[in-house]
Amino acid sequence: MSKQPAIELKNITKRFGKVVANKNVNLTAYRGEILSILGENGSGKTTLMNMISGIYFPDEGQIFVDGKEAVIASPKDAFEYKIGMIHQHFKLVDVFTAAENIVLGIENGKYDLKRSTGEIRKISEQYGFDLAAEKKIYSMSVSEKQTVEIIKVLYRGADILILDEPTAVLTPQETEKLFSILRNMRDDGKCIIIITHKLHEVLSLSDRVSVLRKGEYVGTVNTAETSESELTEMMVGKKIELNIERSEPKNSTDRLYVNGVTCMDRQGATVLDNVSFTAKSGEILGIAGIAGSGQRELLESIAGLQHLSSGEIFYIDPKTDKKENLRDKTPVQIREMGVRLSFVPEDRLGMGLVGNMDIIDNMMLRSYSKGHSMFLQRKAPKDLAMKIIHDLEVVTPGATTPVRRLSGGNVQKVLVGREIAASPTVLMVAYPVRGLDINSSYMIYNLLNEQKEKGVAIIFVGEDLDVLVELCDRIMVIGSGKITGIVDARMTTKEEIGLLMTKSKADGKENDNG
């Protein structure tokens, strides 16, 4: 049968201020197919899809739905065209129940939560979801929230589904389950568009791939007729080697020894449960796990930002071999003890840097309290800012530009640059390449490898298992706040790590072969 175009974009252009997010993009998606939109971070995939779902309105160009021009000025218009989008950052009201969230904004028919709950159950059964409709969103896990999002769209009868990076928060096993559901929907005749930057997902799931680069449409290929390297070339624009140089650890000694750390969140739930491991100098220790399994709390515990209910964190001084307990010390006390601990947190502009301050003032974050003067010294931070801008090729109008106006990659360079400038002995990085383009990502990997060569103990929290396996020396897997295994990165596979990520708590100990 010949496929019908469900949605067509013609010469779509969208600008934000001076930034052109999409330029003359043309795209067609058919019914009964899964189309991948592939592109690097910042290539305008999400912006493009937001225009189909009515969040943004294009500056130029036209959108056709089922061959007729459509004006989608608001998400409501999108629903009328049976378009539904599942956003990467879930759009759910925390204090509402799942059912309330699902019926939110629907206008026809009587408002009857009971009846809606029944309909929700029917949809859940049809596609094999598992959902408690009465549960409040704030007590849900990430994958439950995603289920709510998908059912929300199906409940509205959408037959064009857009999913923005749906697998970023899922384990390999959950991903496979989602993919099989998506394939069912495709066979139902729905049009599925999935935004991603993961090549293997594109190849395993989609029928066709459209590639965007820097806001521009590059081309569309049939998945069956393409290869990973061709897609990469389309995405990046030139052929590049995607190999990370990994050296063998040299003169590795114990640097940080974490013993039986347990930690609660504000509601009193255990977020870290008896965590023990050792980080060694001159090696990169990767930490893998589903988002929200305790990675953040673990790093914050070491940095002195979490209160521990039990356990110790010992730092072994490289010069004196003395053991120092970091438990219950504040970041300032840790610094005063002479422990050179650097930390690149996950939330760059919300934690590592201050978006509204310029680069110089951001350099000062780490050093401002030095000395006894009541007043600030701006000379040294200014020199450091200039050095980082120069050495790391930060693209900025100047050192006095607020960092929020830099692009994601440059923000990260400023942050990593500052943390490395403190010549650390322990360096912790959380999701350091999230949202970065390929070139910036590789620059970060190289910086980490340089530090490793210098004998720094590096703890790397990552989400992309391919990168973890290629970059790290050992990988520790964390699941629900427990260590479920520590494996040699050179010997392991993604599947093994994926299994460890979802491993049940009971058999966590058997795999302690680190």
Binding site: K18, F57, P331, G350, G352, M357, D361, S369, F375
Partner: protein
């Protein structure tokens, strides 16, 4: 499927709002000052309609109301104007560190009243027993400490439990008002008036009763500028205000900063109250601060955390207030005319920020496409 959908008219958004990149500050100030000038002009027109006087007449009256007859050598009104600026500015300055920390201190009124009350109590109770220099020190310390305590209470709860400070500080104002009412009733013997007290007043410099106040506030202005811009405390305040997470990350004790900053904020409010009581009225009633604590919130916010811009803003607002009062007085309008004028001008200036942060684009020239 598709044909069941109702065919939509081509209703595209006509106007389109875009967030601007940072506008050059001279341009932003041009817009702000332009707005002020235009809104003052409109106010002139409004009073022209109400009073049936010409526009020039109206502004002439406003000018007289603020500066008096300077050409005849009389500077009484001018000093009064400067005094008004000083008090409002002092309150606005007090709020600035708190606002910079994103702590909505709406309690300047109460903090100043309590500072003033402390001064009053000392003047009355200790005025006869202590020598003047000692009494003066006691008066100053008492009002600073009392103002600080009034700011400290909501800050402690904010730091410990994240209690909403906007509403907390608002409530504290009315508690302060009632305490004053109580005290005035006791001392005034039910007459709601305390006769001016001669003891413990601030010194008078060069025969000018307002000069001490003005000099004090000028000093506070400079100190506050330096404190916010060049001191480590000021830096900590900005970091806490921008992101508490970042503050935690670099080891700033957020609770300590919140409490310390509110103590400073309350203390400066206390000074303002002291200037009003010991430096100006030598008496107190529930209306001593006269709502300026609220006006100060707007001034501080409009001044963008910059003390020197706040000087300008207070200058404008006091000009309007005094000028409009004079117009009302001369033309037999109700005295509340001044409140209306100040309210409208502030609403205009608040509104004009939109055009600094966003730009509005109109869509045009779209070709029709057959559905």
């Amino acid at each position: 499927m598709a044909d069941t959908k109702k065919v939509k008219a081509h209703r595209e958004p006509l106007v389109h709002i875009v967030k601007r990149d940072d506008m050059p500050s001279w341009k932003a100030w041009l817009i702000r000052i332009g707005t002020i000038v235009v809104s003052i002009f409109l106010m002139g027109c409004l009073s022209m309609m109400l009073t049936e006087r010409s526009l020039i007449d109206t502004f002439e009256i406003m000018y007289r109301g603020v500066f008096g007859r300077i050409e005849t050598g009389s500077t009484v009104m001018l000093w009064k104007y400067l005094q008004e600026i000083a008090i409002l500015l002092c309150l606005a300055l007090a709020l600035t560190p708190a606002f910079k920390m994103k702590f909505w201190n709406c309690g300047a009124e109460g903090q100043a009243l309590m500072g003033g009350l402390a001064a009053m109590v000392c003047m009355i109770e200790l005025g006869k027993t202590l020598s003047y220099p000692v009494l003066l020190v006691v008066v100053i310390v008492a009002s600073v400490v009392t103002g600080a305590v009034w700011g400290l209470i909501p800050a402690v709860f904010k730091a410990l439990f994240n209690t909403n400070e906007t509403l907390f500080t608002l409530m504290m104002n009315y508690i302060a008002t009632q305490i004053i009412a109580y005290y005035v009733y006791i001392v005034g013997g039910g007459s709601n008036v305390i006769q001016p007290v001669a003891e413990g007043n601030l010194p008078v410099i060069g025969n000018n009763r307002y000069l001490v106040n003005i000099i004090t506030v000028a000093l506070i202005t400079v100190l506050m500028y330096v404190y916010l811009k060049y001191s480590k405390h000021g830096y900590e305040i900005s970091v806490v205000g921008e992101s508490q997470n970042t503050a935690r990350y670099i080891g700033i004790n957020v609770k300590k900063v919140i409490i310390r900053t509110m103590v400073i904020s309350g203390a400066v409010c206390g000074i303002a109250g002291m200037l009003l009581v010991a430096g100006t009225d030598h008496s107190i009633n529930t209306d001593t601060v006269g709502g300026q604590g609220f006006t100060a919130i707007m001034v501080s916010w409009l001044g963008q955390f910059n003390p020197f811009i706040m000087v300008l803003m207070t200058g404008v607002i006091c000009f309007l207030r005094m000028g409009a009062a004079k117009v009302a007085d001369t033309c037999m309008l109700n005295a509340s005319f001044a409140d209306i004028v100040v309210g409208i001008v502030i609403l205009c200036v608040v509104g004009c920020e939109f055009f600094i942060r966003y730009s509005v684009k109109f869509r045009h020239g779209k070709k029709e496409v057959k559905a």
